[in-house]
């Protein structure tokens, strides 16, 4: 199909199929995560998901045979532009789409792809990520959760931490040490299992923001059938690293699900006002905000260029660390400036006046940005070795 036809047909289809309620700005509570436990906020949200999933457009780049849209790079760009044109909300967001899916496409067996990918595309299974452990944070490969070979299955015992939304997820993709005789990086396998399996339990962790997006997750002799391993035994670290590059792209892209992009300048203007030269009546904050605005334009341009580069079929690889580092450091500045502009109004923690302290809660939440998915320092170490080839 020629590209102009694709655009006009896409526009017409969206016009008919995207409900009006799905064309309004969304808050964190409006995100559709999918999964067995998900409760739709409205009939429109469900209808929108089903319409998009039927087209394969929840995952437009994936092959059609796995529930995707099979769109070319140019077609993906047009779909995104046409959705943006009518402010259409993303129909589905999930770790399955961002992280597990790309890893399965790369490393999964044909049978696994045909089984798991359509479930992700249709939003039927919500995934969580079993990576970090109490003793394995930045040093992730030091993980100790063990999977003992019991013939037809692995028996998994151990503890994970910082498992995002483990209490809401249906299945987990999990790094487990199955080859205790092997070296640190070659003894790990990548397992998939149901969170309702006997022996799995979760406990939410309350954060400084008051929210509990992360859990501790415990495994006590969980039976995982052997066909639920992705890749070969001991290949888990390779898969984990590949998946992490996708996680870092996701975290680095500031317009991801986690933060609403506020209009800093308008907020500051409303809270502080102008002096008699027509400038924000807080010269130091204004100067800092000016530098931020330039950096934001810069990062947005970089995301655009990177997106085009990836749509042309290139993998980012280690350079995902660059996006992760830049995007998260920038978001921390954004949130700090936002509360600085809000002043004491943004110290109010409860009540309707300031959306229950959302600015302060986002500010606190953003502190995790430069830690989760690999700290800024780990990103810089990766770049210095993998890209700049500095000595180890």
């Amino acid at each position: 199909m020629d590209i102009d036809t694709f655009r006009s047909e896409t526009r017409a289809w969206l016009e008919v199929n995207c409900p009006a309620e799905m064309r309004t700005p969304m808050g964190e509570d409006d995100i559709c995560w999918g999964g067995r436990k998900f409760v739709f906020r409205s009939p429109a949200q469900k209808q929108w998901l089903e319409a998009m999933a039927a087209k394969g457009w929840t995952v437009p780049a994936w092959p059609k045979s796995y529930g995707g849209g099979g769109l070319s790079g140019d077609e993906q760009k047009i779909l995104a532009e046409e959705m943006q044109r009518i402010n259409a909300r993303p129909p589905l967001q999930s770790f399955g789409i961002w992280m597990l899916g790309p890893a399965l496409l790369q490393f999964g067996s044909e049978e696994q792809k045909r089984h798991y990918l359509p479930l992700i595309a249709r939003g039927e299974i919500r995934w969580c990520q079993g990576y970090s452990e109490p003793g394995a944070g930045s040093d992730l490969a030091g993980l100790q959760t063990k999977g003992v070979d019991r013939g037809d299955h692995f028996e998994v015992t151990g503890q994970k931490i910082w498992t995002s939304y483990a209490d809401k997820a249906d299945w987990i993709f999990c790094l487990v040490r199955t080859e205790p005789e092997e070296k640190k990086h070659t003894g790990i396998s990548f397992l998939l299992f149901d969170m309702e399996s006997a022996g799995v339990s979760t406990k939410p962790i309350k954060l400084i923001s008051g929210a509990s997006p992360f859990c501790e997750t415990f495994f006590d002799g969980v039976k995982v059938p052997k066909d639920q391993i992705v890749g070969a035994r001991g290949q888990g670290w390779t898969i984990a690293k590949y998946l992490l590059t996708h996680e870092r792209e996701m975290i680095g892209a500031a317009d991801s699900a986690l933060f609403a992009k506020s209009d800093l300048a308008a907020d500051a203007l409303a809270a502080i006002g102008l002096d008699d030269t027509g400038r924000l009546d807080d010269p130091m904050l204004r100067a800092e905000m000016g530098q931020f605005l330039v950096d934001e334009l810069c990062f947005d341009a970089h995301l655009d260029m990177t997106g085009a580069y990836m749509r042309a079929g290139h993998e980012l690889g280690a350079r995902s660390a660059e996006l992760k580092y830049l995007g998260t450091e920038l978001n921390k500045r954004r949130q700090s400036l936002r509360v600085a502009a809000g002043g004491s109004d943004d110290l109010v923690w409860e009540g309707a006046a300031n959306d229950a302290g959302q600015a302060a809660k986002d500010w606190l939440r953003s502190k995790a940005n430069t830690i989760e998915g690999g700290t800024s320092e780990v990103m810089l170490s990766i770049l210095s070795k993998a890209v700049l080839k500095l000595p180890g």
């Binding site: 334009l297 810069c298 341009a301 170490s381 700049l388």
Partner: protein
């Protein structure tokens, strides 16, 4: 991570090859040695390759390949510290003339493209770039027009065959094409820290014909805005080349220099600073590319993106050259190393066409604060 068209990739490759072979930093040192700050000898080659007419349309004798392609050339000029009138004549004057059209454009744009003439833009009147503050004036009745005023930091002004001078005529902006050899024009050559040609120019009762006026009023405002936007994006691209050269020399040094019995690139304190610099260079490359694309597409974002690119590049350029000298240690302070030369060129490019503060202020105003 940049996606280039086939034409653009060819330009980038040929620019890199041509400038590396015979026009690199060694050539810059040789010019400095003999006090040649204009490098007029390179002009014929640049014209032959089509670079001097890169943004001039074919109808005016150029090749019309656009600003993104021009940016790729500028980046290589920066990387090699090549002295040339590319930014002043091909980009600033080329853009002004191509935007204005008319007899002056018909006459001068082809000469710029063939390298038969160098045309420079005379706009600054004080130490900081404030092109909107103009005291230079055109006065008198038609037929007896006079130009009076003084301009500073006229890049390539010392060797230009014509100057495009910003002046006021009443309340209107007026762009005047002026022969620097005309009676009443005084050019004071200056030796600059980066050994590139500039001049301070004084105009005293210089006689101007009506035909010398390139544009006036709203048309002049538009032409100047487009010209400055183009110049800023291209200057930023040149500065990017300077910064990348400094960064690459520094990464090399970290890979080879030993202290305390180990390669200094093994020290995490240095690794992280080098990687941060790498990230900043990567993202500013994208911003500059976006600004140049906006110029080619004549999009509504031209003003914002070109100013943001110039502002951001000023900060990243400073980071690259300062980190370069610091990580090299004492040797980085010597004239024998190229870092100091890169630092000086970076400094000049920051001031040229407005620094980070100037352009950031514009963006803040635009956002209403």
């Amino acid at each position: 991570m940049e996606l280039l068209s086939e034409d653009q990739q060819l330009i980038a490759d040929s620019a890199a090859g041509f400038l590396r072979d015979g026009h690199g930093i060694a050539a810059f040192r040789a010019l400095r040695e003999v006090g040649d700050d204009a490098n007029s000898a390179i002009l014929a080659d640049l014209a032959e390759m089509g670079w001097m007419g890169i943004v001039i349309p074919e109808a005016l004798g150029g090749v019309g390949l656009g600003y993104r392609a021009a940016g790729l050339i500028a980046e290589e000029l920066g990387r090699n510290l090549t002295v040339s009138p590319f930014v002043s004549s091909a980009i600033l004057a080329g853009t002004a003339l191509a935007s204005a059209g008319g007899d002056l454009a018909q006459n001068w744009a082809p000469k710029i493209a063939t390298g038969d003439a160098v045309v420079a833009l005379a706009m600054d009147e004080a130490a900081k770039h404030r092109p909107e503050r103009i005291a230079t004036a055109v006065t008198g009745a038609p037929g007896a027009l006079k130009l009076n005023g003084r301009k500073t930091y006229v890049v390539d002004g010392g060797v230009a065959d014509r100057l495009i001078v910003t002046a006021k005529r009443g309340d209107d902006l007026c762009l005047v094409m002026c022969d620097p050899l005309a009676v009443g024009v005084t050019r004071a050559p200056q030796v600059m820290l980066d050994h590139c040609n500039t001049a301070a120019v004084i105009f005293e009762d210089v006689e101007i014909a009506g035909a010398d006026i390139l544009a006036q009023g709203a048309a002049a405002d538009q032409i100047l805005a487009k010209t400055l936007a183009a110049g800023r994006a291209i200057a930023a691209a040149e500065q990017l080349g300077v910064a990348k050269a400094a960064a690459e020399q520094t990464y090399d040094y970290l890979r080879t220099r030993k202290q305390f019995g180990v390669l200094i690139g093994q020290f995490q304190a240095l690794q992280h600073r080098a990687a941060d610099l790498y990230c900043e260079l990567a993202q500013v490359s994208s911003l500059i590319a976006a600004a140049l694309n906006a110029l080619d597409e004549d999009s509504a974002e031209v003003e914002t993106l070109t100013r943001a690119a110039k502002a951001k590049m000023a900060r990243v350029g400073r980071q690259a050259t300062e980190e370069g000298v610091q990580m090299h240690g004492g040797i980085g302070m010597t004239d024998e190393m190229d870092l100091g030369l890169l630092m000086k060129r970076d400094r000049a490019l920051t001031e040229f066409l407005g620094d980070a503060g100037y352009h950031t202020e514009w963006i803040l105003r635009q956002r209403g604060i």
